[in-house]
């Protein structure tokens, strides 16, 4: 490596530097310097750019998983870029893909794929290459695998499913006499029973029975609504050029039930997501409706917490969820070597997703879910059944996690939940807004 040291020497002339650089560059190109480790080896390592939207505890976990993948694959280096969740992330990804110079691999919510795949912003995965890396369709739960496809092609590879669930404080539930002999919360199967349980917990906390932060957050309102709506066995179909198809009675009943919870006894009339979580962590409520991804917050606060899927109140088990999924944004010119590395990287992350499960997500990769190590993870394993009853958002170019459509939902439903307007009016307003979107030209 003497040659390399001389290149970095301070006394070198400009001409020497240029000549040296040219020689080194030529050498790198000609040989790939595979036998030369250290700094020169690192310079030749292809970089796989990877965009994701995972921050907080999720972000730290993902960073560790990337570091593991990098350590296990000296042939490439994954360089992550983290962007803010929601519109900032999805607009940047769409623009980068439209320009043809996006990252080699990116994370998307599975529910957003219908807005990206038809316009050619992402490319399908090659099942043959996946199989070479040990990833096959059998590795995924049927519902999740089905969701990964658009027009028969696999556009997204799910890392997880992250359902909207019910956390509960085991101390409070115990004091309220609501725990079964197995230590879990008593079964609840109707709206009236649910309210009775919440009121029992309120008697212990003297504050509220349930926390649910929703103010100014369409996604949060939508998660609970859609869970309850799907529990009616109802569907929503969004077809551009046609009015929205939905079951109005089921929607209104779900909304009325939600609104009835905010009576300042069962739940506070207006909590946003932060105050909702804070209330539950303080022990001022016995239950919290939120995403499984909040589990690290509860663990960090050393809260005696357990979790279940949202109880089936209307007959059909259902749980709103989405999946963080890997996608291949469209490249102007595909670098085949980098693409192969991207497949290897993604397969490594999937296989190592037990670590991801610690952040509260349900891994999509079934060998991990079936492993003994996962079965010992509590309370994750108590809501793992959500993967079988997942309800992804109805498909349209404008729907999905962090979409404007969820904000439009809030526009009409927040006042219903605050008791300022009727459930029928709120729902009809939302349907009207959706029909307006459906009647306009489809930009994808």
């Amino acid at each position: 490596m003497k040659q390399f040291e001389s290149l970095t020497g301070r006394s070198m002339s400009r001409r020497q530097l240029l000549t040296g650089s040219a020689l080194l560059g030529g050498g790198l190109l000609a040989t790939g310097l595979t036998g030369c480790g250290g700094a020169a080896g690192a310079a030749s390592t292809p970089t796989i750019n990877f965009w994701h939207l995972l921050s907080g505890g999720d972000g730290t976990k993902m960073q560790a998983m990337i570091a593991n993948a990098n350590n296990g694959n000296p042939g490439f280096k994954v360089h992550p870029t983290v962007l803010a969740w929601g519109a900032p992330y999805y607009t940047k990804l769409a623009m980068a893909s439209a320009g043809g110079r996006p990252p080699e691999v990116a994370i998307m919510h599975a529910s957003r794929v219908p807005g990206y795949a038809p316009g050619g912003l992402i490319e399908p995965w090659d099942l043959g290459l996946l199989a070479q890396n040990g990833i096959t369709p059998e590795n995924f739960a049927p519902r999740i695998w089905e969701k990964s496809q658009q027009n028969g092609k696999v556009f997204s590879l799910a890392l997880d499913s992250h359902p909207f669930i019910m956390f509960y404080n085991t101390d409070i539930a115990g004091k309220a006499g609501l725990l079964e002999s197995n230590g879990q919360l008593r079964d609840v199967s109707s709206p009236a029973e649910f309210k009775a349980v919440a009121l029992e917990m309120q008697k212990v906390t003297k504050s509220h029975g349930l926390s649910f932060g929703y103010l100014n957050l369409g996604s949060q309102m939508w998660r609970l609504f859609y869970t309850l709506y799907k529990q009616h066995g109802a569907e929503i179909v969004l077809t551009p050029g046609q009015p929205m198809q939905a079951n109005r009675d089921a929607a209104v009943e779900s909304l009325e039930f939600m609104a009835s919870l905010f009576d300042d006894t069962i739940a506070a009339k207006g909590n946003d997501i932060n105050t909702g979580i804070a209330e539950f962590v303080r022990g001022d409520s016995g239950m919290l409706f939120s995403g499984g991804w909040e589990l690290p917050t509860m663990k960090k606060a050393k809260l005696p917490v357990d979790a279940l899927t949202i109880p089936t109140l209307y007959g059909t088990p259902a749980s709103y969820a989405d999946s963080h999924s890997f996608v291949l944004p469209r490249q102007l010119a595909v670098d085949e070597e980098k693409r192969r590395d991207a497949y290897k990287f993604v397969s490594d992350i999937l296989k190592g997703s037990l670590s991801w499960a610690e952040a509260g997500h349900i891994p999509a990769y079934q060998p991990v879910v079936q492993s003994q190590a996962y079965k010992e993870l509590t309370p994750q394993v108590h809501y793992a059944n959500a993967a079988e009853i997942i309800s992804y958002d109805p498909e349209a170019w404008f729907s999905g996690s962090g979409s404007d459509w969820q904000n439009y939902f809030a526009e009409f439903i927040q006042n219903v939940l605050l008791g300022r307007s009727k459930a029928q009016d709120g729902w009809d307003g939302f349907v009207g807004r959706t029909n307006d979107l459906l009647s306009r030209p489809n930009p994808v």
């Binding site: 999805y90 607009t91 100014n216 904000n407 809030a410 930009p443």
Partner: protein, 315 residues
């Protein structure tokens, strides 16, 4: 050729060219022109690339069905405009923008004037007052929004907690459609009034002291002096502040997006957010460009009105 060489040669030409030779001045002029253009070039390039070209391209885009996904950039005439004029969402967001502009401009000018006047009468520790009035203006919109989101929180917020001590029921500062815009105006006032205050203070301190001396000799009290000397002397500053404030308020976006995302019920969504949503999250760049040109027309109209009013006043 370096600019110093160019100027040397130009000065040589000036000293050696005899009067009466026709080529001399024109050659000089053209050389002057070359160096003039050379100096102006960096700015001109930026001006053309980042302002003039986008203005024309944006208008062209508004005549197409262009999508963020790159699909359909064919010309479709003025149909985006006709769609926009029939779009209740656009009119509502334009209405919200105008409402915000009206209810924010008045306090932002009046409060700044009062603050400057208070300081101008000679309070002790002037630097402290100037700093406290102006400091919020230096904060990022995200920081300001976060402050106010917490203070406005109906359950844990400082403001409701304070009001509850007097038995006043909880106010949904950011979730009551009748209150939300006012809450945003209060936050904006706290955040940006310092800028107008500074302009007023500078203008007040430029009013000659003799005016006040003469007035007090004539027996004019403080109020009379304020209304008969200070205010009239501040007229040009007031006109400028009002114009700048109207334009700034028309462009409102950041704090609303961060505090309410345009809610509740779309009651605070400004037109800039509507443009952002249709273009970037709704992918419809052509349609979004059409709405921005309608909005641009409105701003030109407001500026023209302002120009006419001020010209009439100064004539």
């Amino acid at each position: 050729m370096s600019s110093s060489t160019a100027s040397r040669q130009t000065s040589q030409a000036r000293t050696t060219t005899a009067p009466g030779i026709k080529t001399g001045p024109s050659l000089r002029r053209s050389r002057d022109n070359v160096s003039g253009w050379a100096f102006a070039a960096p700015f001109l390039v930026f001006f053309l690339v980042f302002l003039v070209w986008p203005i024309f391209y944006g208008f062209y885009m508004s005549l197409t069905g262009k999508s963020l996904t790159g699909a359909n950039d064919a010309l479709i005439g003025f149909s985006n405009y006709s769609e926009a004029f029939a779009d209740a969402g656009m009119w509502r967001s334009l209405g919200n923008t105008l409402y915000f502009t009206v209810i924010s401009t008045v306090p932002l000018v009046l409060v700044a004037l009062v603050m400057a006047a208070l300081l101008n009468i000679g309070l002790p520790a002037q630097w402290l007052w100037r700093l406290s009035y102006f400091a919020p203006f230096l904060l990022a919109s995200t920081v300001v929004s976060l402050f106010f989101v917490w203070m406005y929180n109906p359950q844990l917020g400082l403001i409701n907690d304070f009001l509850s001590k007097f038995g006043i029921p909880k106010v949904g500062w950011l979730n009551d459609p009748n209150v939300a815009m006012w809450s945003i105006v209060i936050a904006t006032l706290w955040w940006t009034v310092g800028f107008n205050f500074l302009l007023y203070l500078a203008a007040m301190q430029n009013i000659p002291a003799q005016h006040y001396e003469a007035a007090s000799l004539d027996g004019a009290g403080a109020w009379r002096q304020f209304f008969s000397i200070t205010l009239p002397q501040l007229t040009p500053t007031t006109v400028m502040i009002v114009l700048l404030q109207i334009l700034a308020s028309l462009k409102v976006f950041d704090q609303i997006y961060q505090m309410t995302s345009g809610g509740p019920g779309g009651s605070t969504r400004p037109v800039v957010q509507y443009i952002f949503e249709t273009g970037f999250t709704g992918y419809r760049l052509g349609y979004s460009a059409a709405i921005s040109y309608i909005f641009f027309g409105l701003i030109v109209l407001v500026s023209a009105l302002q120009f006419v009013v001020t010209r009439r006043r100064s004539a």
